[in-house]
């Protein structure tokens, strides 16, 4: 198959193909929690709150070997144009679970048997890439809560819009219908080892293109890690928990 030119030549918001959206971060946005953070990329915003470690109930489900991590992801009813029904859905349960697995690979809860660390991720505003924004916020909130972690996690959604690999897709790009359409690949990378903690794929992609997409994602994650690190360090100067 001869390689044809992609139908997606210029990004709708004028970004370069490997350019992420404008990022805003804040650590310690919920004073009463043990740790909290906000992560915003373009019009997608995520808030993560960490509570615990605290005793896990019901008692018969406790793990006497090490503590547990429990992630709860949810979109706020007003986060999109048409209202989202509050409460758990198939989609939110799935994202909670994959986020939990991704974060479990870096946190070290061996010092807290029978305890649980709760991570709540809420999306006040959604414009594609909410699970990766949620993961970025959750990693910062966990660090802010003083939970032992082997390393940090940074996440980005890589897209294949027709034949073009782009980084940090927005909703408009995600809905691209022409040619091969759009493929959305959320990817989470750990900060030290560069391991992949989360990789999902929605659409069609060839093995070569996937490799290219992962490479682009890893590059973008380095940039996000810098932003996360800076936000955390700045927060310790201007009053840690408040």
């Amino acid at each position: 198959m001869a390689k044809k030119e992609s139908l997606y030549k210029k990004r709708s918001d004028g970004r370069k193909f490997d350019e992420i959206r404008e990022i805003k971060v804040k650590v310690g946005i919920v004073p009463s929690a043990d740790g909290s953070a906000m992560f915003q990329t373009g019009k997608t915003q995520a808030i993560a709150v960490v509570r615990g470690p605290r005793t896990f109930h019901p008692q018969h489900m406790q793990n006497p070997e090490k503590g547990m991590l429990r992630v709860n992801y949810g979109m706020m009813p007003f986060s999109v144009w048409d209202r989202i029904r509050p409460g758990p859905s198939r989609r939110s349960e799935e994202i909670s679970k994959v986020s939990e697995w991704a974060l479990s690979s870096v946190v070290d809860l061996s010092g807290f048997p029978n305890a649980v660390v709760d991570v709540f991720i809420q999306i006040p505003q959604a414009d594609a890439g909410t699970r990766v924004a949620g993961l970025n916020a959750a990693a910062m909130a966990l660090a802010h809560a003083g939970i032992p972690m082997k390393e940090m996690i940074s996440a980005i959604s890589v897209g294949k819009i027709d034949k073009t690999i782009v980084v940090d897709v927005n909703k408009e790009e995600e809905d691209f219908k022409e040619g091969e359409g759009s493929t959305d690949i959320p990817i989470a990378v750990t900060s030290r080892t560069g391991d992949i903690a989360l990789l999902q794929l929605d659409g069609k992609i060839s093995p070569e293109e996937l490799k290219e997409a992962i490479k682009a994602g890893k590059e973008a994650c380095k940039e996000i890690l810098k932003i996360q690190t800076k936000a955390l360090k700045d927060s310790s100067n201007g009053g840690s928990n408040e």
Binding site: P53, T55, A143, G146, M149, K150, S191, S240, N241
Partner: protein, 241 residues
């Protein structure tokens, strides 16, 4: 590095390289590198590397003074809730007076508050004692909750800040490392004034020269401290533990 020259690290960040360094609290070794496991300030003494957390929940350590509430009475002691992962256990033997084993509730009942010392921290829980001077059941006064990370600021260098508040309001103050503060004075007004001052300290915990600010604040409340703080607070946190 922040403005006071302290090195702040995030989890997964390399602190130092070299096999001669010894990993201490909250750090781990990865090949040649010593890596942080928690968000906090680096402390390297000799070749011993550790990270002191700057935020997050309170973790009890041996020797800490904590204030808690009785949540359960068992056949040989009490369970104390203090804001940690697990409740602390206070055995009958660690109470400095004779107690009838059948009438534990006569001495300490549900919902009553105590000030205790952390005796032992195990993975299964915390053992506490009240067998020393200054520890025991709390009667009267009020208990307020503050951020446990701000406790060193309330205490001040060698207790200078607490001394200052005590002399101004003539209240008895006990600061628990778990972020609970017990205030007991002659009148409710004095107790509430003390509460206000402590809240002022917590709000301004990151400011340099906090002692002077607090002195001014006490004056603005219409009170006067009887002692002069000669030693100026340098803004350096006194680390507990």
């Amino acid at each position: 590095m922040d403005k006071e020259g302290r090195q702040i690290v995030v989890p997964g960040e390399t602190i130092v390289k070299g096999n001669e360094f010894l990993p201490g609290d909250n750090v781990y070794r990865d090949g040649e590198e010593v890596v942080s496991k928690r968000f906090g300030i680096v402390e390297i003494s000799e070749k011993h590397v550790r990270v002191i957390p700057v935020s997050g929940a309170y973790y009890p350590r041996r020797g800490n003074t904590i204030i808690g509430t009785v949540v359960d009475v068992t056949f040989n002691g009490w369970l104390i809730e203090f804001g940690g992962v697990q409740n602390a256990f206070l055995p009958v033997a660690e109470v400095p007076r004779y107690i009838n084993k059948n009438e534990l509730r006569e001495y300490l009942d549900f919902g009553e508050s105590v000030i205790v010392k952390v005796w032992d921290v195990k993975s299964r829980g915390v053992d506490v004692s009240m067998k020393m001077r200054g520890y025991g059941k709390l009667e009267g006064g009020l208990i307020i909750s503050v951020n446990p990370n701000k406790v060193p600021r309330i205490i001040g260098k060698e207790g200078s800040m607490v001394k200052l508040i005590k002399s101004a309001t003539r209240c008895e103050i006990t600061v628990g490392q778990n972020g609970k503060v017990w205030i007991s004075g002659n009148s409710v007004e004095e107790e509430l004034a003390t509460k206000k001052i402590i809240e002022f300290i917590v709000e301004n915990a990151t400011i340099n020269g906090l002692t002077e600010k607090v002195e001014k604040y006490i004056k603005s409340l219409g009170m006067k401290s009887e002692i002069e703080i000669i030693e100026k607070n340098t803004g350096e946190d006194e680390q507990d533990g």
